[in-house]
């Protein structure tokens, strides 16, 4: 029987950390939510690194925020699981953070944002592109990245206007992000007179795409549109497609904007197109980010830049508001108008910050800007 009570003692010791919440003044607390373990750990880590870099750069450039000695980040792991995401959100509320950067998966962002909005905490997502993230009308929800319904028309136009394609085969991997985008591309492509030969699906976590690629080979479309969550399945599919002798041009999307893609897919990635928000790597803002990020964490990936800009925007707003009140921060966020590393940041009424999707092409292991929908010009 004593063992039973012993284990009860152990368990109650486990519960104690929840009851005691430490609070120390003078540090400005912000939180980040992203998958640090599980299948999307790579993107989640990029986000965390982006936020950390932003804090470093901000403290260096703008100095400390009045009333605080330093800024502290509390990175939370969501594992891309809605339940853990809500737990993480509540944890951050308990820690009394002022703002939150995250989350990665739209299915985590949506329930977590409901919780954070109830507690009146500003949330800026650097990666969730689903329309529903901002379309629910939550007052403290902001988005730094683009929207699926902006990217899809850009991709469809690119396929028609620049690549002069007629037939297109779409593959998605049944996640909120990839399927939403694939549906959007399919709809837009049909609207502008492209022939969608087939829209097929694979499953999340698959490694073998030979069955669906055999179908692609038989259909022989002009374009193979891969809508996959993350660079990793995209690299696998590119390798397998080229090995199978598929000659269709491959077009993909912003989740693949990660230098590791070329590292894995090597030569087969040459000539792959992808749509991604236009980022000018020559601006001083980008250079400042690059100078701090690259030595520590390696090459810059898609979401790190957005996470960086989200954090800078949040910190600027907090500084301008001079308070931790969510309404004041929101008001300042709406007033923001600055050049970030990824783009010119200006939030709209619904919390979106607009998107400027252009097409990139993989050339010699680099992402090179290729086509801009605004001008229609091919950049070299």
């Amino acid at each position: 029987m004593s063992k039973k009570s012993l284990s009860i003692v152990v368990m109650s010791l486990l519960v104690i950390p929840f009851i005691i919440s430490t609070a120390s003044a003078k540090t400005l607390k912000i939180g980040s939510m992203s998958p640090l373990t599980g299948p999307y750990a790579s993107d989640g880590t990029d986000i965390k690194n982006g936020v950390l870099t932003a804090i470093e750069v901000f403290e260096q450039q703008e100095g400390p925020i009045p009333g605080y000695d330093k800024i502290e980040l509390f990175p939370q792991d969501t594992v891309c699981d809605p339940r853990q995401a809500v737990a993480a959100a509540n944890k951050l509320i308990n820690l009394e953070v002022v703002g939150v950067i995250g989350a990665y998966c739209s299915s985590s962002t949506i329930p977590a944002s409901e919780t954070l909005n109830e507690a009146k905490i500003v949330m800026i997502t650097p990666a969730s592109t689903n329309e529903q993230v901002t379309d629910r009308g939550l007052p403290y929800m902001f988005r730094m990245c683009g929207r699926d319904d902006d990217q899809a028309p850009a991709a469809a136009r690119f396929i028609k206007e620049s690549l002069n394609a007629k037939t297109i085969f779409i593959i998605d991997d049944k996640t909120t992000y990839s399927q939403g985008l694939a549906d959007g591309v399919s709809k837009n492509a049909k609207a502008i007179g492209l022939n969608v030969v087939n829209h097929d699906h694979v499953n999340q976590g698959d490694k073998d795409f030979s069955a669906v690629l055999t179908k692609v080979k038989a259909a022989n479309p002009d374009i193979l549109y891969m809508s996959l969550q993350g660079y990793s399945p995209a690299a696998l599919m590119t390798i397998q497609a080229k090995r199978m002798g598929i000659t269709s041009q491959i077009v993909t999307q912003d989740a693949v904007f990660q230098p590791k893609y070329m590292e894995v897919a090597k030569d087969t990635s040459e000539g792959v197109y992808l749509t991604y928000g236009f980022t000018d790597p020559t601006t001083p803002e980008y250079k400042a980010f690059e100078a701090k990020y690259v030595p520590k964490y390696g090459k810059i990936a898609a979401y790190a830049t957005y996470a960086y800009d989200s954090t800078i925007a949040l910190l600027k707003a907090i500084k301008a508001a001079g308070s931790t009140d969510a309404d004041k921060i929101k008001a300042e966020l709406m007033k923001l108008d600055f050049k970030g590393a990824s783009k010119h940041v200006k939030f709209k009424e619904n919390g979106d910050s607009g998107s400027s999707y252009i097409a990139f092409k993989v050339e010699k292991g680099e992402f090179v800007p290729y086509w801009d929908p605004a001008t229609g010009l091919i950049k070299k």
Partner: protein, 411 residues
């Protein structure tokens, strides 16, 4: 004393050397064709230092040098236990209940959130306990019933505008039907074959939830699920009722608590009833049970149905609480974790399962501060827990009585 521990020290040294051998190829061989040792040794020495401290504590504890410290604790706990046992059970039960009731007031939001998860998983775990613990059928797909319950409520609520209390029985019912569908073809199978078939069913349900766009909205999940609504009397214009949505976490906690208590009572009663004994006889020896006139077909199906009903109820509550459902909550890993909660707690005791649920839901939260190391620590904690308490945190009483001949317990 030194002699006694020589063997343990030797084992420890071998383990550490083994670990060094494991670590070096992963950390010391570089793609540019160079070999390095420094990083490996740094990591290894950290691990060495950490485990050494733990090991020293373990040795001191083993050699009873902590008696000064542990004895008073053990004594008091023994006394506490004795007094608890001499007390009528309603006193400590109500004390426990009181603690549970004031918990959200005494603690913060995050703690309440974790507690709600724990309570929902208590219902789920007890449902699984009926299948695994009582009837002895290994089930690796139990989370599917949770998913069915959650989706039933979400769909009925969003598409047909039905309220929580109307949908609640339906959630249980549809989960029960799913349970019977799973249960029927598996009745002939035993052991690991049963495990793989339930795993298959769990995955099938998840894949269907992920792909049936018109009904479940696929991977996007269902948004805008209403929370629990209760009619609140309003005194202003005469006596009318007003719909009141339970959105506050603290209030929601009480609903979860209610469901958990309901499940605990129901499962306890079931376990000690005629049905429960029939299940146990099937668990111990199916052939013998059949010979004794137990209708194994019926009772096995019933076990699935009962287990699924509790999971369905918990699922409905989960949907109401998240106000959003998506297939990501109902993965295979979740099923396995649920099974772990039941096994870890001690397969055949209800308090044990509650403890197991607390351990496995709370541990990843406790380790949150470790960031990306947290699952690593969690995995090793699971192994260590199992090594020290292989028959679960609280082993079953009835089982103990039967196995008095067995040598003393490990750990």
């Amino acid at each position: 004393m030194i002699q006694e521990f020589k063997k343990i020290w030797k084992q420890y040294a071998i383990t550490m050397l083994w670990l060094l051998g494991i670590l070096w190829p992963l950390l010391g061989i570089h793609p540019d064709g160079t070999l390095s040792f420094r990083q490996t040794f740094t990591v290894w020495s950290y691990i060495l230092a950490g485990t050494f401290i733990c090991f020293i504590f373990y040795i001191i504890n083993k050699s009873d040098n902590f008696k000064l410290l542990t004895e008073p604790i053990a004594n008091t706990s023994q006394k506490l236990n004795n007094s608890l046992q001499s007390m009528p059970s309603w006193i400590w039960k109500s004390a426990l209940l009181f603690g549970a009731v004031i918990y959200p007031i005494a603690t913060g939001r995050y703690a309440t959130d974790v507690a709600i998860n724990v309570l929902l998983y208590v219902s789920l775990g007890l449902g699984l306990y009926v299948v695994v613990g009582l009837a002895g059928m290994l089930d690796l797909g139990h989370i599917a019933f949770y998913g069915v319950g959650a989706y039933t409520y979400a769909i009925l609520n969003v598409k047909y505008g039905m309220g929580f209390w109307v949908c609640f029985p339906f959630a249980g019912l549809s989960a029960c039907i799913a349970g019977c569908i799973v249960g029927y073809p598996t009745l002939k199978m035993r052991g690991d074959y049963l495990a793989i078939v339930t795993l298959g069913f769990g995955e099938i349900v998840r894949i269907i939830l992920n792909n049936w766009m018109s009904l479940t909205n696929g991977p996007n999940g269902i948004l805008g699920v209403k929370s629990i609504g209760i009619l609140r009397p309003v005194m202003e214009n005469g006596f009318t009722f007003e719909m009141f949505w339970v959105t506050k976490l603290e209030l929601f906690y009480y609903f979860a608590l209610g469901l958990a208590i309901l499940t605990i009572i129901a499962v306890t009663r079931l376990g000690s009833s005629r049905i429960g004994r029939a299940w146990e006889s099937i668990r111990e020896d199916e052939t013998a049970a059949e010979l004794m006139g137990v209708n194994t077909f019926y009772y096995k199906l019933l076990a699935y149905a009962m287990g699924a009903i509790f999971a369905g109820f918990a699922g409905a509550l989960f949907a109401a609480r998240m106000r959003f459902v998506s297939p990501e909550s109902f993965t295979f890993l979740e099923s396995v974790m649920l099974l772990c909660m039941v096994v870890l707690g001690g397969m055949n005791s209800i308090p044990g399962i509650i403890l197991g649920v607390i351990a496995l839901i709370a541990l990843p939260e406790v380790f949150r501060g470790l960031e990306s190391y947290r699952m690593l620590v969690f995995g090793s904690t699971m192994v260590i827990m199992m090594l020290f308490r292989p028959s679960g945190l609280i082993a079953a009483k009835r089982k103990k009585m039967m196995e008095t001949k067995q040598p003393e317990e490990r750990g």
